[in-house]
Symmetry: C2
Subunit: 307 residues, 2 copies
């Protein structure tokens, strides 16, 4: 069963930071938020089938890592803030059968894809779809037992404000679960200054766009400052080496390198690098996925309670 | 029961890289290998009581993380290569009661402290102490069922040669367990370029001394290239935030920051930095241990089999 709400006052996009890249809230390793800063404008309001499939595949690969500890009791009222195309939503539903889920996203296009994904993969799930801004949710105070968000805070210019808005709709004693990456956690063999500079361009561009690609490490102070209690943050590490070729291919190359590579035109346009330097960085980063290479990345999962 | 062997031909120090800093093989987060590059010469051949206690305390703090999966059957012949002052040795013995341990170190002074530590903490353990070089062990081929080394490869100019020498004395089907850190895995909040440069000085000085402070990420390719099979490398993460003040104090400040801070005079002498820049880096790194800060570091544990 799925229902949909769309309240007046929610324009659907662009009113948080004016750049439209909040469309891709909630996507695992989604690089669309960089692509859509001027290059592929269609990208702002939705995803191609190929892109949505890629995001779904990546979420599936990492679902065990990111969702293993997340399970909500049947009958509990759960809010997913920034569901994007539903890549995480289907895993949330699989791990928490019987919940009453409300999924919110700023992008109508993403929300439509999320609905389709859930209809295909979790047709019996009870989901209310809401097209709107997580900062201005129309729900009453204390409306939810649990709040979940994944790869959302990194896109917000003021993540503390986002957390405060979500705390309002969470009941006292309810939990918030937040999953974020941290691009500064990436390290690899062979070490390469050129590759490291290329990753730094991604972080810089995300910062210029009002986001923070290094948000994972900030989860504890952000949640405590927002008034949550019992804040428990745990690193979730992806490590790939020659003994894990599927992970080297699926995560190192197709997820991480692809994400960095996607900012090429933007990094050049911003004058951060040259084509030669950028391409060298990507080529050297790719070596981490060869049999003699290794790659390490840390996601963070936080769980906290509203006092 | 403890016995000791000391064969002719082992001069006891300095004959691997000529700098004497192999004395501190096997010490958790030991920064003596940097201190002893010209500053505190007494340090080369032993440790002050305070220093040995500090190393022991740190090993105890991290023992659960680093040793949890390491247990050898009673009666098995185990070689610890580079036991140092025995900081890891006592944990190995605690987790593997009844093993027949041979502990090797290049430094007679460290070995004496290791003996004293084991006598105090594991008086019933069966340990043979050998003063010598892990590259030229006097033991026959296939003499051991298991080999263990912790924070040793990072100090060797040619870790592949060290692994080859250890493989010789391991029986076919026997395992090697290797634990190493990786200083490039450190990341923290608040982010600080000054702090990062200061850590880079530590890595640079270790490299100049023939070692590799980024060795952890290389364990898989090193072990496979050395002919080991079933190589299984796992990251072991230390993450400290305001919710874990004891870890922020014990690991972030007393272990990691102390290690970086210890290279101050050496970094200045090498012309890598200025007093002001170095001290700023340390001050900013210390902020990671304040209530609003976070700190992340990854050790690697590898287990592999001799075919």
């Amino acid at each position: 069963m799925t229902t949909e709400t769309a309240l007046p006052g929610n324009t659907g996009h662009g009113h948080i930071d004016g750049q439209g890249h909040l469309d891709d809230q909630g996507h695992l390793d989604d690089h669309g938020h960089l692509d859509d800063q001027g290059q592929v404008h269609d990208y702002v309001h939705g995803y191609s089938d190929t892109e949505a499939r890629r995001l779904g595949d990546q979420a599936d690969t990492l679902a065990g890592l990111l969702h293993a500890d997340t399970g909500f009791p049947a009958g509990s009222r759960v809010l997913e803030a920034g569901c994007g195309v539903g890549a995480q939503t289907v895993h949330l539903l699989a791990n928490s059968p019987g919940v009453l889920l409300t999924a919110v996203d700023l992008s109508a296009g993403s929300l439509a894809q999320a609905r389709a994904r859930v209809a295909a993969q979790a047709p019996a799930a009870d989901v209310t779809w809401h097209h709107g801004d997580l900062h201005r949710l129309p729900f009453p105070d204390d409306a939810f037992d649990h709040v979940f968000l994944c790869f959302v805070l990194e896109h917000l210019p003021d993540p503390a404000a986002g957390l405060a808005a979500l705390r309002r709709v969470l009941r006292p004693g309810g939990t918030i679960t937040v999953i974020e990456g941290d691009h500064g956690s990436a390290f690899f063999h062979p070490e390469s200054p050129a590759a490291r500079r290329t990753i730094d361009h991604l972080v810089r561009l995300q910062a210029d766009g009002g986001g923070d690609g290094l948000l994972g490490r900030r989860l504890y102070p952000l949640l405590t400052a927002a008034g949550f209690a019992e804040v428990d943050v745990r690193p979730r590490t992806v490590y790939a080496d020659g003994g894990r070729p599927a992970l080297a291919e699926g995560f190192t190359l197709r997820t991480f390198v692809a994400m960095v590579e996607a900012v090429r035109a933007e990094a050049l346009a911003a004058g951060l690098t040259t084509p030669e330097a950028f391409d060298l960085g990507i080529a050297e980063l790719r070596r981490a996925a060869e049999p003699g290479g290794t790659f390490h990345y840390t996601f963070f999962q936080a769980v906290a309670v509203k006092p």
